[in-house]
């Protein structure tokens, strides 16, 4: 006996095997990301006021990346529609766009990551005076960039200062801090635009804690990196599967076109789910 319903749907359920399989898998994925989202909510409502990071991600890039992913989602479904009417060429064309979009998304994401790794927050032992929104403020916590021996280093932490025996480093603070409300941050950004940023020279002894925007910086960045990295892994996995079906696996189109179309549909369902997760991740991480 052979396994039935690999291509044709079973009469009473109206489904072929792989479709049941992928929806079950997606159900488990809903719970996987559900666990992470509930972690997000619980950590956020439990956060001490003023410690929740917000407003530090690059919104235009994030928006663009959202558009890239949405485009890839529509090309997936269009490619499936093309296969349904037997147009293999058009299917290949659309799916090629999908794969390119996936690579584009990952490329942009890694660029965003890299930017964060060389962006810092410093906690100081003694407050300093900085200009924010046109006013002088005393603060012991600054966001900004480090310059050391002509370089902008990445991944530094409090420990690095001791290990590298750094005596002092140059620090260019941003005009904002996430303790401010979104409105205040927007205002501070506007007033600071075009002006030359102030610079500080901090001694290692001045620094209580130093952290780049890495997962260990705060629970927000921990969530940001965990969620987006897990999502990126899904994008990568989905792209590999779509590529396999598109390229080496395309022989099946000749031998069993119906099953081949099913494969495209099933991989497409996974891809839409990945898109769907991003639809929530984008506002939750970038905007709120």
């Amino acid at each position: 006996m052979e396994i039935p319903y690999t291509a044709q749907p079973r009469k009473d359920t109206g489904l072929y095997n792989a479709k049941v399989g992928i929806w079950l898998f997606l159900a488990s994925e809903v719970m996987l990301f559900g666990g992470l989202f509930s972690a997000y909510i619980l950590l956020r409502v439990g956060a001490t006021p003023g410690t929740w990071v917000h407003g530090l991600l690059n919104i235009p890039i994030g928006t663009f990346n959202t558009a890239v992913l949405i485009t890839s989602s529509v090309t997936v479904v269009l490619s499936w529609a093309a296969l349904k009417v037997g147009n293999f060429g058009r299917y290949r064309f659309y799916q090629a766009i999908t794969i390119l979009c996936a690579l584009g998304f990952l490329g942009i994401k890694s660029f965003e990551y890299r930017e964060k790794f060389s962006h810092y927050e410093v906690w100081l032992n003694q407050p300093v005076t900085v200009t924010r929104g046109g006013q002088e403020v005393q603060t012991d916590r600054l966001l900004g960039h480090i310059e050391y021996q002509g370089h902008h280093p990445a991944f530094w932490s409090t420990k690095t200062l001791a290990e590298k025996q750094v005596e002092s480093f140059k620090f260019t603070p941003d005009p904002i801090h996430y303790k401010m409300t979104p409105k205040e941050m927007a205002h501070a950004r506007k007033t600071a635009a075009g002006r030359k940023a102030e610079e500080f020279e901090f001694k290692a002894a001045d620094v209580k804690r130093l952290s780049a925007f890495v997962p260990g910086h705060s629970t927000y960045f921990a969530l940001y990196f965990t969620l987006t990295a897990l999502h990126a892994l899904h994008v990568l996995g989905g792209a590999v599967v779509i590529f396999y079906i598109w390229g080496p696996g395309a022989k099946m189109w000749k031998t069993d076109p119906e099953r081949y179309t099913n494969r495209v549909e099933v991989s497409g369902l996974f891809w839409h789910f990945v898109d769907l997760v991003w639809i929530f991740l984008f506002p939750v991480l970038y905007l709120l």
Binding site: M1, S28, L32, G34, G35, A222
Partner: protein
């Protein structure tokens, strides 16, 4: 028949002329559900034995703290080094063994045996399917399980040893122990969870899609229903733990603070972390799996017991529909009871009331199932063979385990009993003489189908009576110890704690309570010894057991007995058609006292 579909023309013979696959593709990288089932079974039994040995060494340490472990002490010292210097188990090693005993028994032994082994071998046969819906996914599931198991096993030998924070791995303790054992544990768990997810997808899809014509939902054997619900529990409850595992892994390797609160001090020093995390979050996500997991352990066991009881009482199981609906109700409710493990975390009365209520409600379907089994015995002409003995013993043993759980489900009584040996006794009654007895019943019951030979009845009985007696010797005293206030996880079995007692003061650990440790140790040794006949019986019977004279040695009704023995690749020569429910025993007016599911009604010749 509602499920009949136009048959493909290439029935059996087109397939049959394939060349014989070689050893590797036949036994190691097999996609045949029967081989995978046996692979799961052997691996899981090995881990079951290993987990038991860990516990035996711990029981020695509890009964004789600070004395070298007999027999294996020198070996421990040699292999593990400083933590077992002189063959004496250090507190760290005790903690490792404790954490790994729980992890191995739950995730590497009982679940793979109940779900992976029996589910894989029996479910497709029972529903009349040629294989699982996704054979290659099935193979991947087993491989992920093996990789997870290897990672867990290897972690004993890394510097610092295996994970030490209990099988529940509560943060911040799990994160702040400086060794790498926990990292291995987390990576291993991610593999095991992936394995379970792949298995669950496969099982559910198979049961939905590959039922033979005529095998309607209400004609499924209860074992299949139990596996179906179990599949959903694994599918939906495991991913939140996978999420939690990923977060704890990040805490461990990337320095995040998902579960580390602000102001955390380790070893008297403020920890170098950002803080802001929530230790309770880990507990929520862990028990969101943890509680459904209990039903993952028990439902397949109930399924096996149902098959064995119906077969050996030679009558229909009483209340088939009640069984089905009860198992569905258990599956549904088990997702909303988890926080009864967390009454002592500073939970308010509203939430605590909610979880107490759902906890009490979920005991109802469990009691219904057990009651159905008991009533099924009434008026049966019972055959007392080894599988039936184990299935019968399951009933009171699981009953004790279940009923002693009720005091733990009320927050008032839980205040006293939480984290004591009472809890250990309770859940071990559910899992050890409960589930494991059912699994033994399953092994004795389906062994002839897998091998074509019967296991020895005599040694089966020795195994049964020994196990029954020693299980109770081991676990019954723990109720008393727990109610006397003995706390879990003490590396010296409470020796220090009991020394501090004031004579005649209420609540101290008396000498009687402490001396029970010795009794339990001997009970454990006895339990180990009576497993030897079982192990020998399994391997000896493969080659030398009494040959079965028919494909259906137990005169059973379900489809797995209506195939050749052992079933060939593809299982059935022709697709079977199902005409009746699963337990048509002793139908009036029939020549035989059993009517197989694929036997047509009189007159309705096919």
């Amino acid at each position: 028949m509602q499920a009949t579909s136009p048959k493909q023309s290439h029935a059996g013979h087109a397939e049959a002329h394939h060349e014989e696959p070689g050893f590797w593709s036949k036994y190691i990288f097999s996609t045949d559900h029967k081989i995978i089932g046996i692979q799961y079974g052997l691996t899981a039994l090995t881990f079951l034995l290993f987990g038991f040995c860990l516990m035996l060494m711990m029981r020695w340490q509890i009964a004789h703290p600070g004395q070298p472990v007999p027999l294996v002490g020198p070996l421990l010292a040699k292999v593990l080094g400083g933590v077992a210097a002189g063959g004496v188990m250090s507190a760290d090693l005790y903690n490792s063994f404790g954490a790994m005993h729980g992890t191995i028994m739950v995730f590497l032994a009982v679940v793979p045996l109940a779900f992976g082994a029996f589910g894989n071998y029996v479910v497709p046969l029972m529903i009349g399917a040629p294989d699982m819906a996704f054979p290659r996914v099935n193979m991947a599931s087993y491989q992920a399980y093996v990789v997870g198991g290897i990672i867990m096993f290897v972690s004993f030998f890394i510097p610092g040893g295996a994970a030490q924070a209990g099988w529940t791995s509560y943060s911040p303790l799990a994160t702040s122990i400086p060794t790498d054992g926990q990292t291995f544990w987390l990576v291993g768990m991610i593999f095991l969870i992936t394995s379970s997810l792949l298995g669950a997808v496969n099982f559910i899809a198979t049961i939905i899609q590959l039922r033979a014509p005529g095998m309607t939902w209400m004609r499924l054997p209860f074992f299949v229903w139990a596996q179906f619900v179990t599949g959903f529990l694994l599918l939906l409850a495991f991913p939140p733990l996978e999420a939690a595992g990923l977060m704890q892994l990040m805490d461990k390797v990337a320095g995040t603070s998902f579960f580390l609160p602000t102001g955390l001090a380790v070893g008297g020093q403020l920890a170098d972390v950002s803080g802001g995390g929530s230790p309770l979050l880990w507990q929520h996500l862990f028990w969101f799996l943890g509680h459904p997991e209990v039903y993952v352990l028990i439902l397949p066991a109930m399924g096996i017991v149902c098959e064995v009881i119906s077969n050996n009482t030679r009558k229909q199981i009483w209340g088939y529909k009640s069984l089905v609906y009860s198992s569905l109700a258990i599956g549904f409710l088990s997702f909303i009871v988890w926080a009864h493990h967390m009454y002592l975390t500073g939970m308010g009365t509203k939430i605590s009331t909610f979880f107490q209520t759902t906890t009490m409600i979920i005991s109802i379907p469990s009691v219904i199932i057990l009651t159905c089994f008991f009533i099924s015995l009434w008026g049966g002409s019972i055959r007392f063979n080894t599988p039936m003995l184990f299935a019968l013993a399951f009933l009171p043993m699981f009953g004790i385990g279940g009923l002693t759980g009720l005091p733990l489900g009320f927050s008032a009584s839980d205040l006293h009993l939480h984290d004591t040996y009472y809890v250990i006794a309770h859940f071990h009654y559910v899992v050890a003489p409960g589930t494991i007895f059912a699994l033994f019943a399953g092994i004795y019951y389906w062994f002839p189908k897998m091998t074509g030979r019967l296991m020895s009845e005599y040694w089966g009985r020795v195994h049964f009576w020994g196990s029954l007696i020693f299980m109770n010797v081991v676990f019954q005293p723990m109720f008393a110890q727990g109610m006397a206030g003995m706390i879990r996880r003490m590396a010296d079995g409470g020796a220090n704690y009991s020394l501090a007692r004031v004579p005649d003061a209420i609540g101290g650990l008396s000498d009687t309570i402490m001396s029970l440790h010795t009794l339990i140790l001997w009970g454990g040794i006895g339990l180990g010894l009576v497993q030897i006949p079982f192990i020998i019986n399994v391997f000896w019977s493969i080659k030398h057991g009494r040959k079965v004279t028919s494909d259906n040695p137990w005169d059973a009704t379900t489809l797995e007995w209506q195939t050749p023995t052992p079933p060939p690749h593809g299982n059935f020569a022709a697709e079977p058609t199902v005409h009746r429910g699963p337990y048509d025993y002793s139908l009036p007016g029939k020549a035989k006292d059993f009517t197989p599911q694929n036997e047509p009604d009189q007159g309705g010749k096919h």
